[in-house]
């Protein structure tokens, strides 16, 4: 232990060097990264949770799932400024840690439209969803500029709301479409029934104006008129059902029935935030530096065969010891 400590403090500059180098590299890496601004919005979830999950947790899970879909990502990127920004700065989408250094050397990448996968990956790494209570959650968007951060956060919340409403009214719309198809079919049925009655009347020279009760004396006419009346009733029922579904859809789209409301809108961030990637880089740099120091200490202890104290002379060299002088002297 004593010997190890002596070796460590004898070579302290050598040992500090890798730690310092790692920290300098980390600092350089962090400095080269594009600035990251964070804008956060708070949401109050009105709906109930699923199972044992709180409403906020349920909503957070839904948002996390949405973020994994390209459709959602494209909608958010197009609704906000993200798509335009990433088109102008394709380097911002790179996940390569040394990409900023590469851009520094070779110049910025040429503008190009981001793919849906790139948008999805970008949002997945730059959006953080966190619950802060049973009904409250926060959505944080990190972006290279304050405006992109705020506007993307707003677009994200708006898109989340839209997709939630869409999810809610989707069964109704399906039902509406079904009813409208049925109505279309029923219209044909009704038209055919009416046509059959008219044809029967024409064929049998029946004048319903003169003889309104002709159906009572003509069973054939009675059957056809009954069928036409039934088709008419079905048609009316379908119209009523369609109106109800349309009404339900309109109700579901009302803001007061939205699954959540925005408590705090995303604001324009005023200062640069230390991103997750930077924090990981700092931690990794520190760890790498400490690891290098540990390896170096192990090597130094293993390779050092010099004498550090008087008691080591007899043990390592086998010579008698007269004494020792603490002050170092050189010829």
């Amino acid at each position: 232990m004593k010997r190890t400590l002596e070796i460590v403090f004898t070579h302290k500059r050598l040992l500090i060097a890798p730690l310092l180098a790692a920290l300098i590299c980390t600092a350089a890496y962090v400095a080269l990264q594009p600035p990251s601004y964070q804008s956060t919005g708070s949401l109050w979830v009105n709906t109930s949770g699923i199972g044992t999950q709180s409403p906020a947790q349920t909503q957070a899970d839904i948002l996390s799932q949405d973020l994994k879909t390209s459709t959602f990502a494209i909608a958010v990127a197009n609704a906000g400024p993200l798509n335009a920004y990433l088109t102008a700065h394709p380097g911002a989408m790179s996940t390569n840690p040394i990409h900023p250094l590469k851009e520094l050397v070779t110049g910025a990448s040429a503008p190009r439209k981001p793919s849906s996968d790139e948008l999805r990956a970008y949002l997945a790494t730059h959006v953080t969803v966190a619950t802060v209570g049973p009904n409250q959650l926060t959505v944080t968007v990190a972006a290279p500029t304050p405006n992109v951060a705020r506007d993307t956060a707003n677009a994200l919340i708006a898109q989340l709301l839209a997709s939630e409403v869409a999810a809610k009214i989707a069964p109704m719309q399906t039902n509406l479409a079904l009813l409208q198809t049925e109505l279309k079919d029923q219209t044909t049925v009704l038209q055919q029934a009416v046509a059959a009655v008219q044809k029967y009347i024409a064929d049998n020279h029946i004048n319903l104006a003169k003889d309104p009760n002709a159906a009572a004396s003509d069973p054939g006419l009675a059957v056809l008129q009954g069928a036409a009346a039934e088709a008419q009733a079905t048609y009316q029922n379908l119209l009523t059902a369609i109106d109800k579904v349309k009404s339900d859809i309109e109700t579901a789209q009302q803001p007061k029935l939205a699954p959540f409301r925005v408590v705090d809108s995303p604001q324009l961030p005023s200062s640069v935030a230390l991103g997750k990637q930077e924090i990981i880089a700092v931690a990794a740099g520190l760890f790498a530096g400490l690891l290098a120091v540990a390896v170096l200490v192990a090597l130094l202890v293993r390779l050092d065969t010099t004498i550090h104290s008087a008691d080591e002379v007899q043990r390592m060299v086998g010579l008698p010891v007269l004494g020792s002088t603490p002050q170092s002297a050189r010829t």
Binding site: M1, K2, L5, E6, V8, F9, T10, K12, T305, T306, I307, H308, S309, A310, E312, V313, M316, V317, G318, L319, P320, V321, L322, G323, S324, T325, P326, Q327, S328, A329, R330, T331
Partner: protein, 255 residues
């Protein structure tokens, strides 16, 4: 023919520099036979020459080492090391000064013929020196340069021919044994043992050897290799053992 000039007694000597530059008063060891009444201080160079040559704590370490070694019967004491830069010359000077504290007339002999630097460091004239005594038949006394009370420096002098030849001639001359017979303690600043044969050759002229080992510098294997085959088993004086571990770490780790 060879006669060692007696160095002035400390009480009678005119100090080469003001007494205020003399440091610690002499500690009189209880066992030593000296009757020297006045302190035989270790030396500091004048301020104009750059300050302290031998620090007090180094002197203290050498005092303890000489106490362990014992001064009775001490005639020729070589101070060597495995490699250069281990503090050999400084500790040779300290040893000479400590022996002078015991009241012994001490000659500090420069035998590092390849790299003589003792005189340069102490501001002592390089000539005449030991080799001049042999070459031009001068008296030894002429080559002795008083340095401090009880201590004289004998420099290398003008070397003509090879180092092994000069050392061989010194061995044949019996100069060292003559000095010893006159009760003078000879402390020699020897060349390092590794590198060439001069170190071993010079070490073989000495009755006792101190091997300076600079802590945290020379591998143990090098030391073993350096002392292998020496006629005298050297005794180690470890130099620079001050711990590099800060006090708070020592307290925490309990070492």
């Amino acid at each position: 023919m060879l006669e060692a000039r007696k160095v002035s007694k400390p009480a009678a000597a005119t100090p080469a520099w003001p007494a205020s530059l003399y440091a610690k008063p002499r500690v009189q060891p209880s066992w030593e036979p000296s009757t020297s009444p006045s302190p035989s201080p270790y030396v500091r160079t004048p301020a104009a020459m750059g300050g302290t040559l031998v620090a007090e704590e180094m002197m203290e370490g050498v005092r303890q080492a000489i106490q362990t070694l014992g001064v009775k019967g001490l005639t020729t004491l070589g101070v060597t090391s495995s490699l250069r830069g281990e503090g050999r010359t400084t500790l040779a000077l300290a040893t000479a000064l400590v022996l002078a504290e015991y009241g012994m007339e001490t000659i500090l002999l420069e035998l590092d013929l390849a790299h003589p630097e003792l005189c340069h460091r102490l501001g002592v004239s390089k000539y005449p020196g030991l080799l001049d005594v042999r070459e031009i038949r001068q008296e030894v006394a002429d080559a002795m340069h008083p340095f401090s009370p009880g201590v004289s420096i004998v420099p290398v002098g003008q070397m003509q021919g090879s180092i092994p030849r000069a050392l061989s001639q010194l061995a044949k001359s019996e100069l060292l044994s003559e000095l010893a017979s006159q009760g003078v303690a000879v402390v020699a600043d020897l060349p390092p043992l590794m590198g060439n044969s001069a170190g071993r050759q010079a070490a073989s002229l000495m009755a006792d050897l101190i091997l300076v080992v600079r802590a945290n510098m020379v591998p143990a294997a090098t030391i073993v290799e350096a002392v292998a085959g020496l006629p005298v088993t050297p005794k180690v004086l470890l130099n620079g053992t001050r711990s590099r571990v800060p006090g708070w770490v020592r307290r925490l780790s309990g070492i």
